[in-house]
Point group: C2
Chain length 687, copies 2
């Protein structure tokens, strides 16, 4: 930028324009035009305009700059870019301090306390366009978004790219997955120096060399393209938007707002998780009464397909037969499990469906499945079926059936649907009204609309949505609480057939990366610890239990085959007991990619649950139970790795012990290689 500045300045001065049309162009340093601090004052944002009228923001934390002056602005496909030549046309500020309640979640109540600064920028020349930038500064993070006012000179914004920067001041390390390659979030996380960051998805987790943890992400991604970030030089990161086949990556009519660009700052990995910035920056519940959205555990006709012993396609190996679905319903009912997912229930799986889902029909069960009968049978047992809508990436084909497909599910009393978008890179099929076939990315603007359309149409029918191969989570569950979970990272399925499988530290990485965005339908609980071809899963049995606490979702699968749970009754006891809805959550310790210990309190009771996961080395977790009620007895049922547990040899040894504990007691939990620990803390009477 220095060079551009120099060049323009010189050229303009040479041609005698400096004084005429750009009076601020003299060699003045950037001028601070507005500032805002967080309620407690530890975070502050300043907005500057430099000599060319280029706006930038910077962030200080406890008085030290953490984000250096970082560019703001847009390129358009059909208009001059909006990035310099601005003057400050106005500013305003306000404070909000409120709490609100989640219908389900990790915390029952959420405090929302921020100071807001709105700056209105106006171009000094040319079309004199206006652009607002709104900053909300919390004690643990900053969100800002652009607002395009209604203005005759910019009715339709055709955004070629966004110029937003995040200039991290200190060197550090980063945990990230690549963006713009395979169109997916399903990568093993890279852990590199920040200076080796490529083009990355968010949430992007950074730890700078002074121990500060930073998470970059976005909130309320609605009718806009997903933001990727790319390192430009040093630790200066730049936003770039997910591609579009139509030129502009975003087309919107003014007035409109962009998603929030978010930065959480914390002294620890756990501090990032404890922030409510993402949820707070989303709009309140737009659906009214959502008591029909039920957190639940579920089993599924699913893992056997990943093992290769059953198939989605019809024929000899077809998994979704009446008999097999009935077996799963019976298992669920017998164990108090609320749902049964059935994949391969509908026609369309018999061809080459991935990336080509035009044969799918979401109203036609396969001939060997009495789908309506099973829905009724499930209801009679107090269980519900979970439908599955795999699109194979043929999204327009799916949309053409969407209303009817949802009506059909509603008619059968199916209250939740898992969707799927398995396809190749940038190869989502969009068919235009004139028949033109376009290829979209999972996180482009068109798909951001699609995912939300499915959710809102489903909401009308009281159906919850669990999106696989989704657009990333940006906290929209606050506004649309029937969007209960997403995939959006490597789940358990990679432990069935992955080459490689998820590494032993995968979950300790997820806890402070992917999980910052929202619920993950990871599908834990493979108690057999066995994947395809008898391959060993990089986990101990105790760790499988811990995952129910560490990796939050309001819908949690018992991913293994029903017959395997019979073999591990201790494990099943914990899984049956562990809630899926919480009133409180504490991160007791954690280092990204090394270990993570979470405690959560049952939303519907006084019990706490604790989960701890490690990596590929033995560890000892020492946790202090200071979150328990003072003076109350708790019966701690501890599921920990047995003396010889080691995922490399045998992850099954698990020691289960029971003791009475109190507030302030210390628990020492040994974690094996690939290990974990789970603790149920049953509240007794108070004193």
């Amino acid at each position: 930028m220095v060079s551009l500045t120099g060049r323009l300045r010189a050229l303009l001065m040479a041609v005698g324009l400096a004084q005429a049309s750009l009076p601020a162009l003299a060699e003045t340093p950037a001028k601070v035009v507005a500032t805002v601090a967080s309620p407690a004052g530890n975070l502050a944002v300043r907005v500057e305009l430099d000599g060319e009228g280029r706006p930038a923001y910077a962030v200080t934390r406890r008085g030290a700059e953490v984000i250096a002056p970082s560019r703001l602005g847009f390129l358009f496909t059909d208009a001059p870019k909006m990035e310099r030549g601005f003057t400050l046309a106005g500013q305003s500020s306000r404070t909000v301090d409120e709490t609100w309640e989640q219908p389900w979640g990790e915390w029952r109540t959420i405090a929302n306390h921020f100071n807001e600064l709105r700056v209105r920028l106006k171009e000094k020349a040319g079309a004199a366009r206006e652009l607002d930038v709104v900053f909300r500064v919390y004690d643990d993070g900053v969100g800002f978004r652009y607002e395009f006012p209604d203005q005759p000179q910019l009715k339709t914004a055709r955004i070629a790219d966004e110029l937003t920067e995040f200039a991290v001041v200190r060197t550090g390390e980063a945990w990230w997955t690549p963006a713009g390659e395979w169109d997916s979030y399903e990568y093993i996380y890279n852990h590199t120096p920040l200076a080796e960051l490529g083009q990355a998805h968010t949430p992007l987790t950074i730890r700078t060399d002074d121990g500060t943890h930073i998470a970059l992400h976005e909130a309320a991604l609605v009718d806009y393209a997903g933001m990727w970030v790319r390192r430009v030089d040093g630790q200066r990161l730049k936003a770039t938007l997910s591609p579009s086949p139509i030129g502009a990556r975003v087309v919107r009519q003014a007035p409109f707002t962009t998603p929030w660009r978010t930065m959480i700052f914390a002294d620890s990995a756990g501090g990032l998780y404890q922030s409510h910035l993402e949820l707070n920056l989303n709009e309140p519940n737009a659906l009214g009464d959502v008591s029909w959205v039920k957190p639940e555990k579920f089993v599924g006709v699913w893992w056997e397909m990943h093992l290769g012993s059953a198939s989605w396609a019809t024929g000899r190996k077809h998994g979704a037969t009446t008999a097999n679905v009935r077996k799963h319903i019976d298992f669920a009912a017998a164990n108090g499990i609320g749902g049964v997912l059935v994949e391969g229930w509908n026609v369309g799986w018999d061809g080459q469906w991935f990336g080509n889902g035009n044969d799918f029909d979401f109203r036609k069960p396969t001939p060997d499945l009495d789908w309506a009968g099973m829905a009724a049978y499930a209801r009679s047992k107090g269980v519900n079926l979970i439908g599955h809508h795999e699109t194979g990436g043929s999204v327009s084909h799916y949309e053409s059936q969407l209303d009817a497909a949802l009506d059909y599910a509603q008619g059968l009393g199916i209250p939740a649907i898992k969707t799927g978008y398995v396809t190749d890179d940038g190869d989502i099929e969009r068919v235009e009204p004139d028949g033109t076939r376009l290829r979209e990315w999972h996180d482009g603007q068109w798909m951001s609309r699609h995912y939300l359309r499915v959710v809102t149409e489903a909401a009308k029918r009281h159906i919850a949505i669990d999106s696989h191969e989704p657009i990333k989570d940006t906290g929209l569950r606050r506004t649309y609480p029937n969007w209960v979970a997403r995939e959006g990272a490597r789940g358990m399925e990679y432990n069935a057939w992955g080459d490689p499988k998820n590494p032993p530290n995968h979950e300790a990485t997820l806890a402070f990366t992917r999980m910052l965005s929202g619920p993950f339908d990871f599908t834990p609980g493979v108690v057999s610890l066995t994947g395809k071809d008898n391959s060993r899963i990089p986990s101990t049995l105790a760790k499988q239990l811990a995952l129910y606490v560490v990796l939050y979702s309001p819908v949690q699968m018992l991913a293994d085959l029903p017959e395997n749970y019979a073999k591990y009754s201790d494990a099943l006891a914990f899984i049956k007991a562990v809630p899926v809805d919480w009133s409180d959550t504490r991160v007791l310790n954690g280092e990204v990619g090394q270990y993570a210990t979470f405690a959560r309190k049952d939303r519907h009771g006084e019990d706490w649950y604790l989960g701890s996961v490690g990596d590929d080395q033995p560890r000892t977790m020492t946790v202090t139970l200071d979150f328990l009620d003072a003076g109350r007895d708790y019966t701690a049922r501890i599921y920990r790795d047995g003396p010889n547990a080691d995922w490399h040899t045998d992850g099954h040894p698990m020691t289960v012990e029971t003791r009475t504990v109190h507030q302030g007691d210390t628990l020492t939990l040994p974690l094996a290689r690939g290990g974990g620990a789970a603790v149920q803390l049953v509240a007794g009477k108070g004193h």
Copy 2:
């Protein structure tokens, strides 16, 4: 990719498709389907297909892999991507061994000796599209391109992006400028570990940790978007195409070919420069007799604008007045300089023209300039005027005048035009026939067509083109020899007003980065060593002379004010003598960003010239004159840094000495800080 492979494999096997539609899908390693070695056998390319039918190429050098298996393929905006599911439908090979002659250049004759491999890939399913990949393997490099055959299932290719990879095997360092930021090549070069490469322009110069030098670039960029490369992980680089406002970055009708993707491999920086790969991969001269293209030196009404003492705009400071142009013509004629560049000669400079050149008229001189009269006056003195077409980025406006503007120049006998495209990022104005205004990048497909259109239209009128703010050079001067030079990096102008100026090692970096692409109108010869506001230029006087040899162009400016040359008559003597057209070139030594010594032989005589440039530390260059004719006397006139020369204090001290030298003699050239040396070797009689 591993993860995708695993996922698809498992899913496909699970749904029973593996054996049916994708027989090669079993867990087989990639299979080598074709190989080709260079004529001497030191470089070899192999083409593989992996279990999913994904094609890749790899390169070995002296038996060791230098480029690991690297992906090939395309994303489209309106069709499934083309990247896997391929089978080998055929292959053929041939050898070419020829020499050809440049009409002007660094070398008179160019050897073109390669082995070619053509593989035809065909999709096994779906549309069964075909794609050829053609490899040309030289002893010093590899070029490959894609060829889209004429096929009913792919008439129009709308390319969303190219998936080509360059997976560098070894770690190393890289010299690069960022792509996708400020839409310009005018950056100070980054020198970083290869693992810290961002998104970069080409030529991209890499030195791996075993000393191998690699240059990645492209050749024959015609009707296609420029290729940027981005590091994906490790040392794996990926092509991405310059953006477009219309969705597809490239739209072409089949049959068509892409530009060549090129890799030069050498043991030294100089080895990269000595490769003729780029030129060889361009098509032969398409213009027939080009004797009208005359290499020449030129002066200009130019530096004074950059100093701020004159202006492009009319008024008191206007530079392009009749009197000032006449002064320059007289200076040129008196010193045997062929051309006089005049900037600011036409109307349109009086408003805010940068990024908004719609006021420019290329047929209307300013009222204070007798342009036609000066053209005639110049001719009478044996000098020619060089016109200037600054577009301010309003390219459609320029195109609407192009034919008339070139006719006008031709009518005045103006044989060369410097074009200009000063504008903001991604902000080139393209106006569609329906009036829609779109914003283009300098190196997008639309601009690639524009630059070449200017060149071919100029050629019809026997006008040479020197493009500033150009699309990067990819060797098209071979096909269009009237495209004599380009800018495309930071030139001398930054030493007038840059903040910062070009660093002292800039030219030693350029020599092995930018200069690998072709002639650079750097505009050397600022003998005053003084920029705007009496600022000091990071160079000695001797280095200014060296630049005429080191930084090749068939058009070389005497960039300084005429009056300054009178003060430095020794320097002027060298500048007057140094040719601009060569029959041979040798890189005598060089390390990227440290030093570079070039020897070139006059195309029209037996004399050699030598130039050496350093960086910000004193150096001693020892060069052996083994390129001279055996047994011949040469009078060496040596222009070297004087004992107290140092750009930080005074770069002017220069020692000029004359000695007689012979083949095999050693010259010791001391380089000051920011220094250089130039040597004229006048051939005497042979023995």
